[in-house]
C-alpha cells in the first residue's frame, strides 16, 4: 500500500491509496514520531493490519531549520576577491523607508569565508588555474576552522565545474562534507547560487539524521521536493535545499488535478490557512513553475512552483489605524491564543471571528482540536475593536483579491477564464466573494480539502530535474546535443532509483530563452521531433503572452537547457473513493469534518467530478 504524509504546524495528515485518512497532532521535536503514529492508525483500520510499501513524505524539517537558524556551521570557499558575496547580496535593503528593517544575517560569518585563486572567463574558459599549493593552504585553514560542512561556489562554475570539482575533491579528501554549486544548482547569478549552495551544506547534517530515522517506516520512503516531484529519501537528504519550498506543492498539485477533472485546466489554487495564504496559477493543468524563490529573505535557485504567499489568514487580527481605516494583519493570533471564538484567552478580533459572527461558520459545531466556537466572545472582540464582521471580511477579501491579481492579471492572464480551487481551513469561506470580485466563473472545493496537501503528495510523480548553462547563448547549433546530455542524465538518475526496466519514464526538455540584452529568461518547451528550430516561434509567442510583445527580429539567447524525467504515481487521486456531497443553494453553510464551505446568496454548490464540490452562480 502507498501512503502519503504531510507534516503541518498543528497536524500531521496521512492519506492511503484506498482513500482512508489519519490526522494526528504534529510532534515538532521529532516530526517522524507523528508520521509513525499516523501510519499505525492507518494500517490498523478495520482491525486488519495492512503493509505499507511506499511512504511518500512531505517535510518541513529543512524549512524550519532554516527559519530557526538551526543548521550546521558552514564555511564558504569562493573565488578570490568575492567571498563577501554572501553578505553584499544584491546590495538592496529590505525596506525603502523603514530603517529598522535588517537583511537576514548571512549564513556564513566573515571568519568562515575563504577564497581560492583560479578564474574562468564569461565563456567558462580558464583564465588562471587553481594553484595546488594555495589550494592546500585554504583546505588546511578550512579544516582548522572546525566547521561541520563546506560550500564551494566559484564564479562561472555553472559553465564549467572543473575548478570547483578540484577544490571540492581536495576538501573531501580531508573528510569534509562538501556541497559544490555546479553539482547542486549549475545556474547563472553567483549570489543566488552561493546562497543555495550554502543553504544545502547548512541543512544537510540535520536532514540526513531526520530522513535516516524515517527510513524504517516503510520499505521505500520518498520525499516531496519544491518542484512537486518525489525523490528517494537518501537523495533528498543529500539535496535538502530542494525541499525548502515543498510545503505548498502537494496542495497545489492536488488542486490542479481537481480543476482538470472538472474541466477547468486553467485555474488558481487558493489555500488559506490560519496565518498565511498560498495562491498559484495553473495553466493547462500544470502549476506555473519558478526557477527561483525566497525563503526568509534568502534566494533558493532550484526548481519550484510559482506560489505567491501572503501573511494573512483566519488568525489575522483586525484593528482601526490612527487614520480611521480598518486594517487586517499582519499580526496574527496564531494557534494560541488563537481567535477570540476559540475560547483560549484571545481577545483580539480575527478573520475567523468575523466569519463566525457573519454566519459563514456554523455556530454550535465543534472544529477538530478546538471544540465549540464561542460566538459571544467573537462579538465582544469585534465590538471592542470598533470593527464589524462584514467590514473585516471586506478588507481581508480585498487583500486576497490583490494576491489573486498578482498571479493572474500581473502575469498577463485574464482571471475571468479561470476556476478558483479553494482549500485550507479558510479558503472555501472566502472563495465565492473573491470569484465575484474578479469575475471568476466557478469555485471548486476538492475532495478531502482538509488534507489536500497529503493527497497531492500521494499522487505526485517521481521526478528529476537537470539543468545546464550555455557558454555560447547565441549559438543554437549545439542545442539538440546539449538537450540530449541533460535528458540522458535525468533519465539515468530515475532509472538508477527505480530500476532500468521501467517503461513509464517520460523525459521532457525546455530552454531558458531571452532576447539579446535582456536579463530575464522564459522557459520554452524543446521537442526534438518538432524540428530543430521549432522552439523559436514558441519563444516569441511565450514572450508575447508573458510580456505583451515580441521582437522576432532580435537575436535570441539560450542561457540554459533543462530536462525533467518523470515516472507517474501508481495512484490516480481522481480515482480515490469519493466523499458523499450534496447540492445546496446559497445562502448555505456546508460543514464537513475537515473544512467549512460558505455558499453565499446567488451561488449554488453541486457535486462534481472526483468528489469535488463545484460552486457556480445561480
Amino acid at each position: 500500500m502507498r501512503v502519503a504524509s504531510d507534516t503541518g504546524g498543528t497536524f500531521t495528515d496521512l492519506v492511503a491509496e484506498d482513500g482512508s485518512i489519519a490526522k494526528v497532532p504534529s510532534t515538532p521535536a521529532d516530526p517522524g514520531e507523528a508520521v509513525r503514529s499516523g501510519l499505525g492508525d492507518l494500517v490498523r483500520e478495520d482491525g486488519v493490519a495492512r503493509a505499507v510499501e511506499v511512504l511518500a513524505h512531505g517535510t518541513t524539517v529543512a524549512t524550519n531549520a532554516l527559519l530557526e537558524r538551526r543548521g550546521a556551521r558552514v564555511a564558504l570557499v569562493a573565488t578570490v576577491g568575492v567571498a563577501d558575496v554572501i553578505e553584499i547580496a544584491r546590495q538592496d535593503r529590505p525596506s525603502l523607508y523603514d530603517p529598522r528593517a535588517d537583511r537576514p544575517e548571512p549564513l556564513v560569518p566573515r571568519h568562515l569565508r575563504f577564497e581560492v585563486g583560479g578564474r574562468l572567463d564569461a565563456h567558462g574558459r580558464e583564465l588562471e588555474p587553481v594553484d595546488p599549493a594555495a589550494l592546500e593552504a585554504v583546505v588546511g585553514a578550512v579544516v582548522d576552522s572546525g566547521v561541520e560542512a563546506v560550500a564551494v561556489c566559484l564564479l562561472h562554475a555553472d559553465l564549467d565545474g572543473a575548478h570547483e570539482a578540484q577544490v571540492a575533491d581536495a576538501l573531501r579528501r580531508r573528510g569534509l562534507d562538501v556541497t559544490a554549486s555546479h553539482e547542486l544548482a549549475p545556474e547563472m547569478r553567483e549570489y543566488e547560487r552561493t546562497v543555495t549552495t550554502v543553504a544545502n551544506a547548512y541543512l544537510r547534517p540535520r536532514c540526513r539524521t531526520y530522513l535516516g530515522g524515517l527510513a524504517s517506516a516503510a520499505p521505500s520512503v520518498l520525499v516531496m521536493t519544491s518542484a512537486g516531484g518525489l525523490v528517494p529519501a537518501a537523495d533528498a537528504a543529500e539535496r535538502p535545499a530542494a525541499l525548502l519550498l515543498s510545503g505548498p506543492a502537494g496542495g497545489v498539485a492536488a488542486g490542479a488535478a481537481a480543476a482538470v477533472a472538472n474541466g477547468c485546466p486553467d485555474a488558481i489554487t487558493f489555500d488559506m490557512g490560519g496565518t498565511s495564504t498560498d495562491v498559484c496559477l495553473v495553466l493547462g493543468g500544470r502549476p506555473e513553475p519558478a526557477a527561483e524563490r525566497e525563503v526568509a529573505g534568502l534566494p533558493v535557485r532550484l526548481p519550484s512552483l510559482d506560489v505567491h504567499t501572503i501573511g494573512a489568514g483566519g488568525g489575522s487580527i483586525a484593528r482601526l489605524d490612527p487614520g480611521g481605516a480598518l486594517v487586517v494583519g499582519p499580526e496574527s493570533a496564531g494557534a494560541r491564543p488563537g481567535p477570540a471564538c476559540y475560547g483560549h484567552g484571545g481577545t483580539a478580533p480575527t478573520v475567523t471571528d468575523a466569519n463566525l459572527v457573519a454566519g459563514h461558520l456554523p455556530a454550535g459545531v465543534a472544529l477538530p482540536g478546538i471544540g465549540e466556537l464561542d460566538r459571544a466572545a467573537a462579538e465582544r472582540a469585534l465590538a471592542g475593536a470598533g470593527v464589524t464582521a462584514d467590514g473585516v471580511l471586506a478588507v481581508v477579501n480585498a487583500n486576497m483579491e490583490q494576491a489573486l491579481r498578482r498571479v493572474s492579471v500581473e502575469r498577463g492572464v485574464d482571471p475571468r477564464r479561470l476556476a478558483l480551487v479553494a482549500f485550507g481551513g479558510a479558503g472555501p469561506l472566502h472563495a465565492c466573494a473573491l470569484a465575484d470580485a474578479l469575475g471568476l466563473p466557478s469555485v471548486i472545493v476538492p475532495a478531502r480539502a482538509g488534507v489536500l496537501s497529503a493527497v497531492g503528495i500521494l499522487g505526485a510523480p517521481v521526478q528529476v530535474d537537470v539543468v545546464a548553462s550555455r557558454a555560447e547563448p547565441l549559438d543554437h547549433d549545439g542545442l539538440a546535443d546539449a538537450v540530449d546530455v541533460v535528458a540522458a542524465r535525468a533519465e539515468a538518475t530515475v532509472r538508477g532509483w527505480l530500476g532500468d526496466a521501467r517503461a513509464d519514464v517520460t523525459v521532457t526538455a525546455s530552454l531558458d530563452c531571452r532576447y539579446l540584452g535582456q536579463s530575464h529568461e522564459l522557459a520554452v518547451p524543446f521537442e526534438p521531433l518538432a524540428g530543430a528550430d521549432a522552439w523559436l516561434p514558441a519563444f516569441h509567442a511565450e514572450h508575447e503572452r508573458h510580456n505583451g510583445y515580441a521582437r522576432p527580429e532580435r537575436p535570441v539567447e539560450v542561457v540554459a537547457v533543462r530536462a525533467s524525467a518523470v515516472v507517474p504515481s501508481p495512484v490516480t487521486i481522481d480515482a480515490l473513493p469519493e466523499p458523499s456531497r450534496e447540492s445546496a443553494v446559497g445562502p448555505a453553510v456546508l460543514a464537513e469534518p475537515d473544512c467549512t464551505i460558505w455558499v453565499p446568496p446567488g451561488w449554488r454548490a453541486d457535486p462534481g467530478a472526483a468528489g469535488a464540490l463545484v460552486l457556480t452562480r445561480t
Binding site: G81, E87, R100, A122, H156, L320, A325, L326, Q402
Partner: protein
C-alpha cells in the same frame, strides 16, 4: 467622514493595487536590465487635479517628484481638455516636470469613457523609468563634466507620444532597441492603469487623500514643536580644479501646528556643473527623510504631503534654473538633501534617527563602440550604482554594502555582467574598517575593481570622497570614498581619480572604487568609559 473604516481600507487597497499592477506590468515587459533587474522605475495614480493618490516606487528618489510631471502635463494640455482617450504625454525636461534627462515619464489621462466621446476626466496615471541612454556627450547621458543640460541628452518637454516623437527619441539614443522596448513597457503599464482607475471612477477618491493627511498629522503631532537647523556639503561640482569647491546645503526645520516646514534659505547658489537639483528632486528627498523617521506605513499620497512645506529658493543647488546641467542633482544632491533633513530631524528628536549613511550612489557609467558589446549592431552602455555603508542606528550597527536613502537598485550579478559586456570584476568585497566608530558602528563600504576588456568611455559621478558621512550622538565619521585608475591593472601605476570625471580607458585598465562607510551612532564603549 463619508466612508466607513472598511470601505476606506478597501479603496486604499484598490488604489495601491492599481499602482502596484502598473509597476508589475512595467517591470515584466521592460526590455532593459536597468528597469527589469535594477527596478529603476515607478508608477503612480493621480486625481483629475493632479494630486497623488497612490504610488509604487522602487527607489525613493521617485517619491514626491512624480506630481510635478502630471502638473506639467495638466498645464501644457489645458487641464487635460486638449487630450483624448488613448493619448499619452511623454516628458523628461527637468525644468518642466522631470528630474534628470534619463528619467522619462509617461503621463496618461483617464476619462470616464473608453473611446469616442471622451467623457469626464477622472484622473491620471504615470510611469517613470530610468532610460540607460538618451544621448548627450557620454554613454549613459550623465557626463561628469557637463555644465549645461544640452550636454546631457535629448530634452523632451511635455508632448504627446507619437510615432514621430518615438523616432526622435530612438534616433538620439546609443541603444535604440532598448529604448523602444522600455517605452513600450511604459505605454502598456499606463494602459493597464487607465483601465483600472476607470473602474474606480465612481469612488470618492478624495477620501484617500483626507486619510493620508490625517495619518501624517497624527504622526507629526508626536514630534516636538520648534525649529532646528542642520547643514552639510556637496564636495565638488565637477572634475576641474576650479570645481573642487564645497557647496553648502542648509535647512531649517520648523514643526508647528501647521505641519513641518523644511526651509533651504541660505543654501549656496547653483553651480557651473551637473550637481544641481530641480525642486521636484528636493521635495522627494524631504519626503523620504520624513517618511523614514515617522511611520513608514503612512500612505505616500498627496494628502500626506499637505502638511509638508518645502521652501527651496530659486537658483540654488536645491532648485536649479535652466539651462544648467542637472544630471547629478537627482543622484547625488538628493542624497545630501536627505542627509540634512535627517540631521535636522535627529536634532529635533534625538535617539530615533541613525547616523549618516554613505551619502552617494557611486554612479558608474561605461560604454563603448559598436562591435564590442552584446549586440554587435549597437554601441554598448552599462550603468551601475554601488552600495556602501549605512549609518549606525540607535539600536544596531549599520548594514554593510547596501544602498541607502534615495536609491535601492540591485547590483548586476558578476556573472551576468561579464557575459553581457566586455567587463570583468576582479574584486568585490566589503571595505573592512570603513564604518564609523560608535556604540553602534557604521556599516562598511564596498571595494570594487572593474577591468574593461575593450576601449571604453567611463563617467564617474560620486560624492563623499573628501568629507565622510557624519557620526551622531558621539559616533565617529565613516571613511570617505576613493576612486582609482590602475592602468593595465598595474597596482604600482595606480592614480587617484577625482570624484567626478569622464575618462577614456584602454583594454586591461582597471577602475577601483572604494565606497564610503556609514557614520557611527553613540560613543564607542572604550571612548565612553574613558570620558
Amino acid at each position: 467622514m463619508a466612508l466607513d473604516p472598511a470601505s476606506l481600507q478597501v479603496l486604499l487597497a484598490r488604489l495601491t493595487g492599481v499602482a502596484d499592477e502598473m509597476s508589475a506590468v512595467l517591470r515584466r515587459a521592460a526590455y532593459s536590465p536597468n528597469i527589469k533587474e535594477r527596478a529603476d522605475c515607478s508608477s503612480a495614480v493621480f486625481t483629475a487635479d493632479g494630486e497623488l493618490l497612490a504610488q509604487a516606487e522602487n527607489i525613493p528618489v521617485h517619491l514626491g517628484s512624480m506630481p510635478a510631471s502630471v502638473r506639467a502635463a495638466i498645464d501644457r494640455f489645458d487641464g487635460g481638455r486638449a487630450l483624448v482617450p488613448g493619448d499619452q504625454v511623454i516628458l523628461n525636461d527637468p525644468f518642466a516636470g522631470g528630474t534628470h534627462l534619463n528619467d522619462i515619464t509617461l503621463v496618461a489621462p483617464c476619462f470616464s469613457e473608453g473611446t469616442g466621446d471622451r467623457g469626464e476626466l477622472l484622473g491620471w496615471v504615470a510611469t517613470r523609468a530610468h532610460h540607460a541612454d538618451v544621448g548627450g556627450a557620454a554613454p549613459g547621458s550623465l557626463p561628469a563634466d557637463a555644465t549645461e543640460v544640452f550636454e546631457e541628452g535629448l530634452r523632451l518637454p511635455p508632448v504627446r507620444l507619437t510615432d514621430e516623437v518615438r523616432a526622435i527619441l530612438t534616433a538620439n539614443s546609443r541603444t535604440p532597441a532598448e529604448r523602444a522596448g522600455d517605452l513600450d513597457a511604459q505605454v502598456g503599464a499606463n494602459q493597464v492603469g487607465v483601465a483600472r482607475l476607470r473602474a474606480l471612477g465612481g469612488e470618492p477618491l478624495a477620501e484617500a487623500l483626507e486619510y493620508g493627511e490625517r495619518r501624517m498629522r497624527a504622526a507629526l503631532a508626536e514630534l516636538p514643536r520648534g525649529t532646528w537647523a542642520f547643514e552639510d556639503v556637496v564636495d565638488s561640482f565637477g572634475p576641474g580644479d576650479h570645481q573642487q569647491v564645497e557647496t553648502i546645503i542648509r535647512v531649517r526645520l520648523t514643526i508647528d501646528d501647521d505641519g513641518a516646514t523644511f526651509d533651504f534659505t541660505g543654501t549656496d547658489e547653483q553651480r557651473a556643473g551637473n550637481v544641481n537639483a530641480v525642486e521636484a528632486v528636493t521635495v522627494s528627498a524631504v519626503a523620504f527623510a520624513l517618511r523614514s523617521v515617522l511611520d513608514p506605513s503612512i500612505p505616500a499620497n498627496g494628502g500626506a504631503l499637505r502638511p509638508l512645506h518645502v521652501v527651496a529658493p530659486e537658483g540654488t543647488i536645491v532648485n536649479a534654473r535652466p539651462p544648467t546641467a542637472v544630471g547629478a542633482g537627482n543622484v547625488e544632491v538628493s542624497q545630501r538633501v536627505a542627509d540634512v533633513c535627517l540631521g535636522a530631524l535627529a536634532t529635533a528628536r534625538p535617539g530615533t534617527v541613525g547616523a549618516a549613511s554613505q551619502g552617494t550612489m557611486n554612479n558608474l557609467l561605461v560604454g563603448g563602440a559598436t562591435g564590442a558589446g552584446p549586440d554587435h549592431d549597437e554601441a554598448w552602455v552599462y550603468y551601475e550604482t554601488i552600495g556602501g555603508g549605512q549609518g549606525g542606528r540607535w539600536f544596531a550597527p549599520g548594514m554593510s554594502g547596501v544602498h541607502t536613502a534615495m536609491t535601492n537598485t540591485k547590483n548586476t550579478p558578476i556573472e551576468a555582467l561579464e557575459r553581457a559586456f566586455p567587463l570583468r570584476v576582479r574584486r568585490q568585497r566589503l571595505r573592512r574598517g570603513s564604518g564609523g566608530a560608535g556604540l553602534h558602528a557604521g556599516g562598511e563600504g564596498i571595494e570594487r575593481d572593474l577591468e574593461v576588456l575593450a576601449p571604453a568611455t567611463v563617467s564617474l559621478i560620486t560624492e563623499r570622497r573628501r568629507t565622510g558621512p557624519w557620526g551622531i550622538e558621539g559616533g565617529g565619521p565613516g571613511a570617505s570614498g576613493e576612486n582609482w585608475l590602475l592602468p593595465g591593472g598595474d597596482e604600482s601605476r595606480a592614480e587617484r581619480l577625482p570624484d567626478k570625471c569622464t575618462i577614456k580607458l584602454e583594454a586591461g585598465d582597471v577602475l577601483r572604487m572604494l565606497t564610503p562607510g556609514g557614520g557611527g551612532w553613540g560613543w564607542p564603549r572604550d571612548r565612553g568609559s574613558a570620558a
